[in-house]
Amino acid sequence: MATYKLSVVAPDRTVFEDEVSASTFPAVYGYLGIWSNHEPMLVALKPGLITYTDAKNQLHFVSISGGFLETSGTSAIVLAQDAVRSSEVDLAQAEADLEEAKRALRGEASSMTITEAMHEVEKATARLQLARKK
């Protein structure tokens, strides 16, 4: 199967680069699948899970906290605010963050604003989903 290069970069590091045959991304209007030779696109992503199948037909997951995707047909690049691979996810931390955000949404004392808390809920949920996929 034709493959293309997928790279995920965060502001402070390159999270990973791999040859993949297919991948799906959490775009703002719903999940978006990209095969090789896709039409060139610039897409905004929301917090969620990136799923990709590598050249050996293995399924992998990466959670991101929003970002942007550029694909040119032969390569795809994700600029993620923060990206976590399944080998790196910290379940306890994700649960704690979710709890904290929910407390803020209930109007209890917290350092977060409502918008921040809503974003945090999405981010933490994505990481929890990732942890469960392991």
Partner: protein, 289 residues
């Protein structure tokens, strides 16, 4: 002339100083390597971000956005000044402070400072400038979260009308022995423009989702963050580079001083011995006759 004891004391002092400067040089060298790596690692993201803005911008007129708002009447400007937390790094801080001072002098509007690093804050608050926010960064180098806090602060100052433009003074890292203090405009954002001929080489027709205007709204804050983060990283690399060079020459100087002092000490000792021998010989001669 100093006595032998005094000279020996000075040699000891110089040796102690030398071992301190040598240790500081090694630490700075290690930190510089790390800081350089971080600049390298951050580069793919910022380059890609730049290309994104170019692609989106080439799709049509840029829609109005609070961060692009160019105000005709600039009443107050803010200068973000990145300096080190500590001294002993050669001319690094001085150069930055001088550049900032010169820039501030040319501004006829009201001005306020946002200082990152203790040295800038101390210098300008002592001289009666308004420092509206003062941040400190860990010595190990700025984190992404530091850049986020800084960016949020200045975007807020800009969007709520407290200031009409924001500039950034930082040190561009060229090499371990060369750093260049620079002042750049942060806000309103000057979107990168496609240069003539560049468009042809790109040659890709992108589909956008959501539409370019909305995409841009999402991209701009991230772009600002990237610029500040890059500046923080480069400054910290410059600081360590500058400190390494300064400490290296301090170590050399101490070595030279120890050499000279040892020479003097030997001469003084020799002179003392010679005098003693002369005295004994003279005494013996006197007894003989």
């Amino acid at each position: 002339m100093a006595t032998l004891k005094q000279i020996r004391q000075r040699i000891r002092a110089a040796k102690n100083t030398q071992s301190i400067t040598r240790a500081m040089k090694l630490v700075a060298a290690a930190r510089l390597t790390k800081a350089k790596n971080r600049v390298e690692e951050a580069r793919p993201y910022s380059e890609k971000m730049y290309e994104f803005i170019l692609s989106v911008g080439s799709a049509g007129e840029l829609p109005p956005h609070p961060l692009l708002d160019r105000r005709p009447n600039v009443k107050k400007v803010a200068l973000v000044l990145i300096t080190a937390e500590r001294g002993l790094c050669g001319s690094y801080n001085t150069n930055l402070l001088k550049t900032a001072q010169r820039w501030l002098d040319t501004q006829s509007t009201d001005k306020t400072l946002v200082s990152v690093g203790k040295k800038g804050n101390l210098f300008f608050s002592k001289r009666g400038y308004e420092v509206s926010h003062a941040f400190t960064v860990p010595t190990a180098g700025a984190d992404l979260s530091d850049a986020v806090t800084l960016t949020n602060t200045i975007s807020e100052m800009f969007t709520n009308g407290e200031v009409d433009a924001v500039y950034l003074c930082y040190s561009k890292f060229i090499s371990a022995i060369r750093q260049e203090p620079k002042v750049i405009q942060l806000l309103p954002i000057e979107p990168p423009q496609l240069e003539e001929g560049e468009a042809a080489s790109q040659g890709k027709e992108y589909a956008f989702e959501p539409k370019p205007e909305d995409l841009l709204t999402l991209l701009l804050p991230k772009y600002l963050l990237t610029v500040t983060y890059q500046a923080l990283l480069e400054s910290s690399a410059s600081e360590h580079g500058s400190r390494m060079t300064a400490m290296s020459s301090a170590t050399d100087n101490a070595g030279k001083m120890i050499g000279e002092l040892t020479l003097t000490a030997n001469r003084v000792r020799q002179a003392a011995i010679t005098t003693e021998i002369l005295e004994i010989v003279a005494g013996a001669e006197a007894l003989k006759s």
